[in-house]
């Protein structure tokens, strides 16, 4: 069989398996001897969540060379936007008088709730309006979850556009510092603006399917599993297509040498901003979905530690390949969870809750130093074609050699273009 076929078959099998996993969950009484607890389902959902983040970060950092530390901030923007809409916005058929009312079409009103006192369960203005001003029979409708998630995506895209545009001039270290600054400011604001965001205690979100769906209750793990899986597959398909298209070619050209790419006619501004917008939107989508699934989102998701987790997943998986990064994320999510158990070797007790992260840090450093392509990528690579990946080979050039660079790059681009076409279909299991 040709490598392409292997990839296709393996990809199809993986997708089918992923789609079938819920059949074995304990909610459906398992599949013969195989019963997956709902904790397993929870881990699987979380793994997909991290896989979306890690693979989109690898598109941003590995392909486009933009080492942003703000990916979790975009994730949080998605989650918080969706959550805040759910918290503050209602639709009614009559003006509430007590809240901020905005007339819509027909006799519908968009009601923005007031900001309540911290740490209380005071009635909101709408609760008061129900007993005081609203006529009997008024309909009060929560914004649908899909719509608030969509708004989360929009906000993710808007912020991605803004940040992507602001960082156009910044390279590597400066970009990393700027994005750290951005996420720190976001985190501090979320923590401090307690009346709006609930601060450290976290913003509560309605379940993904508040009324349940197809016989599953709102707390069932199966619908969120499929939702997250579909988002994951969609993200992978989108990124595969992008990476294989001219877009992917151009962003890699920009990564290698911006001046040379510009000289060849690549619209640098457009592609650099675009890759930021796309990856931020994906992160925001994952954040919004995960927020509704978990039911709570806190500013701690933006701390640098969480970001380092995503980075480590991508690096250990394989920074310059979105599949390797996503598989890395899935493997590491499960591994970190399994490793929460202590070991005792003779008199030596090892507290794994702490030490697993020490090993993890060490593994990250060693991977970077000795196995630049990640630990999983070479394995994937070996299984599929047993030859060295061409696309990750890059040439470091000094700027004074610009003229040679252009010619070299031209050659490189041409050869890459030839290779990218088959490569893109080869690498397309999802």
């Amino acid at each position: 069989m040709s490598p392409t076929r292997i990839y296709r078959v393996a990809g199809t099998i993986t997708i089918v398996l992923l789609l079938l996993i819920p059949l074995a969950s304990s909610e459906l009484n398992g599949l013969g001897p195989l019963v997956l607890s709902s904790y397993f389902m929870h881990l699987a959902i979380t793994a997909f969540f991290y896989a979306i983040l890690a693979s989109s970060w690898s598109l941003l950092a590995g392909y486009a060379g933009q080492f942003s530390f703000g990916h979790m901030a975009f994730m949080a923007i998605g989650g918080y936007t969706s959550g805040l809409i759910g918290k503050f916005i209602r639709f009614t058929t009559a003006p509430s008088e007590l809240c901020t009312d905005i007339p819509l079409l027909g006799n519908w009103w968009l009601v923005i709730l007031n900001i309540r006192r911290v740490g209380t369960i005071d009635e909101s203005c709408l609760d008061m309006a129900k007993t005081q001003t609203l006529p009997a029979g008024t309909l009060i409708i929560f914004p649908p979850v899909w719509a608030s998630i969509a708004m989360g995506l929009v906000m993710g895209a808007v912020f991605g556009l803004l940040v992507g545009w602001l960082v156009l001039r910044l390279r590597s270290t400066y970009l990393a510092l700027f994005t750290i600054g951005f996420s720190e400011i976001l985190r501090a604001s979320i923590s401090a603006e307690i009346p709006i965001t609930e601060g450290q205690s976290g913003l509560e979100l309605v379940p993904l399917f508040p009324a349940g769906i197809m016989g599953f209750t709102s707390t069932s793990k199966i619908p969120p599993y499929y939702a997250m899986l579909l988002l994951f597959l969609f993200a992978m398909a989108l990124m595969t297509w992008l990476a294989g298209s001219r877009f992917g070619l151009f962003i890699r050209a920009i990564r290698e040498d911006e001046e040379a790419a510009a000289a060849l006619g690549v619209n640098i501004v457009r592609y650099k901003v675009l890759v930021f917008v796309i990856t931020s939107t994906l992160a925001a989508a994952a954040g919004a979905l995960q927020g509704h699934y978990i039911g709570i989102i806190t500013p701690n998701t933006v701390i640098i530690l969480q970001m380092s987790l995503v980075i480590a997943m991508a690096v250990i998986g394989g920074l310059e390949n979105i599949y390797a990064a996503s598989v890395g994320a899935i493997v590491i999510t499960f591994a970190l969870e399994l490793l929460r158990t202590n070991i005792t070797i003779g008199p030596l007790h090892v507290d794994m809750t702490l030490w697993r992260l020490v090993f993890f840090g060490l593994l990250l450093m060693l991977t970077l130093r000795f196995q630049r392509n990640g630990l999983l990528f070479p394995i994937l690579e070996r299984i599929s074609r047993g030859r060295v990946a061409q696309e990750t080979v890059s040439i470091r050039v000094e700027s004074e050699e610009l003229e040679e660079v252009v010619t070299e790059e031209e050659v490189a681009l041409e050869t890459e273009e030839e290779e990218t076409q088959p490569a893109s279909s080869e690498e397309n299991p999802g």
Binding site: H42, S201, T298, I303, L339, F359
Partner: protein, 452 residues
């Protein structure tokens, strides 16, 4: 180059092997525990099987009780480790007694990391993966607020040991019980104490500065305190800090400029140590102005290491003074001291112990491991715990509406004792501190500084 590759792969292999060992080691511990033991996830504290002679009649499937504690940052690890130790003692005591209904007991301790999202995940895991019938412990309010939803979804009871936020009980979930004090009641004790200083000790008290943390423990506590102080005719200014704040110099200058008659610290953890010591350095510490330190100051070793100038601090203490401990508490302290080397047990560790014992008794009382039956039993329980006789008088048969009380009293242990103690000698142990308030427990009069 080749050599280096090999070196690298052998390193990786070693690491993986270590991790694999870890995983397997853990697995054998979790699956099919042959002897009664408290299985715990973090830290090696002694789990000597205490009842070898009973093991033959305890071969049955163990009854599993979950336990929540913050065991890694950003959670309050010091508190979490104390709770873990106390809950392990509870497991050993239960097994030494012959288990519950003749079955061994397994207490599964999970790390909440002090994060709500992590809290929901581990409660989920406890209930659905480990199959626990009830959950005890719990430290951070934010974790409690989030975890209560999972408990309700799954119908499994949680007895919270140290989550003070009022809303945890005021939402009136059947599954949620609490033996920790209510935040608002604690604030009331603080303010009563401040009033008492003014009215009966002749202290000048017109203005109080409150330093709080911007969490859902700190913010409502500060608001309650402010409102109550207001009612007592005392003005107050609140400064709220991020929990990670280190440098308080600017804040302390502002506190100084307010020239307060008293300072109340509601910020917990190292922030409270940093604030108190930096205030002392700046000349407005516990030796210069009456100063209520945070309850974390009761961990006296850490307190004196971090706040060498902390003498004369007033500290609110949950639970009775040690000389008034009942038999259960005496035994617990003896065992706890033997294991940890501490002289006294922290109030939250004691409450965690009780939370596990409560669930155990509820299982005995109901004669069932069905969570719904356990909830019924908990509502009617009368348990002699280390904290004293524990009951939940406001429940489904006596709702807050019927009893005419605030909903916050739902499934709430009504009278955790609260005292105010004072470090009156530098380097003093928390056990030896003077109880200054309320009068019934008073051992020494308060030392009031900074009065002209």
């Amino acid at each position: 180059m080749n050599l280096r590759r090999n070196l690298f792969w052998s390193l990786i292999a070693l690491t993986l092997l270590a991790l694999l060992l870890a995983a397997c080691g853990g697995q054998t511990e979790t699956v099919g525990e042959p002897e009664p033991a408290a299985e715990e996830e973090a830290a090696p504290a002694a789990t000597e099987a205490p009842a070898a002679e009973e093991s033959d009649d305890m071969d049955m499937e163990p009854i599993k009780i979950g336990a929540l504690a913050p065991l890694s940052a950003p959670g309050a690890v010091v508190g979490g480790e104390a709770m873990r130790d106390a809950m392990l003692i509870a497991a050993d005591v239960l097994n030494a007694r012959g288990g519950i209904m003749g079955r061994p007991v397994e207490v599964i301790i999970v790390d909440t990391e002090g994060l709500p999202e992590r809290g929901t995940a581990v409660v989920e895991r406890l209930i659905n993966q480990d199959g626990v019938v009830g959950i005890g412990g719990g430290y951070h309010s934010s974790v409690g607020v989030a975890a209560k939803e999972v408990a309700r979804d799954n119908g499994v009871p949680i007895v919270f040991a140290e989550t003070w936020n009022d809303t945890i009980t005021s939402v009136q979930y059947d599954e949620i019980f609490r033996i920790a004090p209510l935040s608002s009641e604690v604030s009331a004790v603080d303010v009563n104490f401040i009033q008492w200083l003014r009215d009966e000790n002749g202290m000048k008290l017109d203005k109080v500065v409150i330093l709080t943390e911007n969490t859902d423990y700190g913010i409502p506590a500060a608001e309650n305190t402010t409102a109550l102080l207001d009612g007592a005719g005392i003005a107050s200014v609140t400064f709220s800090v991020d929990i990670g704040t280190q440098d308080f110099a600017g804040i302390i200058e502002r506190v100084k400029a307010e020239s307060p008659d008293m300072i109340v610290t509601l910020a917990t953890g190292e922030a409270s140590y940093n604030f108190t010591q930096q205030a002392a350095d700046a000349g407005i510490g516990p030796q210069d102005v009456p100063f209520m330190c945070n309850q974390v100051s009761l961990v006296s070793d850490a307190f004196w290491t971090n706040v060498p100038d902390g003498n004369n601090c007033f500290v609110r203490r949950i639970g009775l003074p040690q000389k008034l401990y009942n038999d259960v508490a005496q035994e617990l302290v003896a065992e706890y001291s033997a294991r940890t080397g501490k002289d006294d047990i922290e109030s939250y560790a004691m409450a965690s112990y009780d939370s596990i014992m409560l669930i155990a008794q509820a299982i005995e009382d109901s004669g069932s491991t069905d969570p719904a039956d356990i909830i019924d039993a908990l509502e009617n329980i009368n348990h002699m715990g280390a904290l004293g006789p524990i009951t939940f008088p406001i429940n489904r048969s006596n709702t807050p509406d019927q009893a005419g009380v605030d909903p916050k009293w739902w499934h709430q242990f009504p009278d955790p004792a609260i005292t105010i103690v004072q470090y009156q000698e530098a380097g003093q142990d928390a056990v030896d501190t003077a109880v200054v308030y309320p009068n019934v427990y008073q051992t020494d009069p308060p030392v009031i500084v900074g009065q002209e």
